[in-house]
Symmetry: C2
Subunit: 182 residues, 2 copies
């Protein structure tokens, strides 16, 4: 079922659903869930939503524009921990709302670009990975969203790693990414 290239409509179908999926999962949950982590150096659901807000401002559409503009310079590096400063003083609900608004704007702009197959094959220069196409960027945006949805669910699950008692043996999510940092 793996696809070598993305279909724009399929990608947008996921990208437009992520804010609502995270809101449904997180809005109003006790801090037991919102502030849980998988251990030192890993992110809470609150941190993850802040990271998605930052990515929406600085990563995805700016890089898409960069590729379409034909700029031969490498992309600006993405700051993977900017949310630890930027989310200060905000609530999880503020961040979820901000993410939803920014994502709606990103997708409106993406669709207004009316991208052709040729556009999706255009390349830009990633500072570490080298040449990457616009299609690969958009596929990465989708997978990045889903990676963080899975991370939020996994992080919450681990709060009850002890509370499940003997059932631990059946719940493989409690063993995923054990000892890794985000």
């Amino acid at each position: 079922m793996e696809q070598a290239v993305l279909q724009l409509g399929d990608a947008v179908a996921v990208l437009e659903r992520t804010p609502a999926a995270l809101s449904a999962l997180l809005r109003g949950v006790p801090d037991t869930w919102a502030r849980a982590t998988e251990g030192a150096g890993t992110w809470s659901p609150f941190d993850v939503v802040g990271h998605l807000v930052h990515g929406e401002r600085t990563d995805w559409m700016p890089r898409a524009r960069h590729i379409i503009s034909g700029d031969p310079r490498p992309f600006t590096r993405f700051d993977r921990t900017a949310q630890f400063d930027e989310s200060g003083g905000k609530s999880l609900e503020d961040l979820l709302e901000e993410f939803a608004e920014l994502r709606a704007g990103s997708l409106a702009e993406l669709l207004s670009m009316d991208l052709s197959e040729d556009d999706l094959a255009r390349a830009g220069l990633h500072p570490e990975l080298g040449p990457v196409t616009l299609g690969q960027l958009l596929a990465t945006w989708v997978v990045h969203d889903l990676d963080h949805v899975a991370q939020v669910a996994r992080t919450m699950a681990k709060v009850y790693a002890g509370a499940v008692g003997p059932w631990q043996a059946y719940l493989s999510i409690l063993r995923d990414r054990r000892g890794e940092t985000a």
Copy 2:
């Protein structure tokens, strides 16, 4: 942040959000996503929602009742693949709606039981794991929900394992549970 015992309010906060989270993620998505799997023997998002519907009918609240009733016999075994028969002819949207209705009923019944700390410490007999408490059952229900939310996100992400090109190196979700069955 790991908790040895569950707090009923925390558990309900997750359990009541799962149907809306899965609906937000999946309702109306193209079959590219709804019918994707991680390979032979693994489940699509459609299969997962069918499994959650079956669990809602036969697993969680029936076992909670069993424990509270003081029945010394082991729980009825849970059929982990019942959805392959039961979901036949249904749409993903049918299953999402059925899941939301059944879950609302389960939680109404759970709350009406007005469980005390002593109730949560009562034990029933699992056919393979031996004695388990009601609190452990409810914690397992929560983790089981989150495990399947993460599975849906991971399964969808892997559709674009090739489409992301060189970014594959950065997207750890594409390497989670590689070669494992559901």
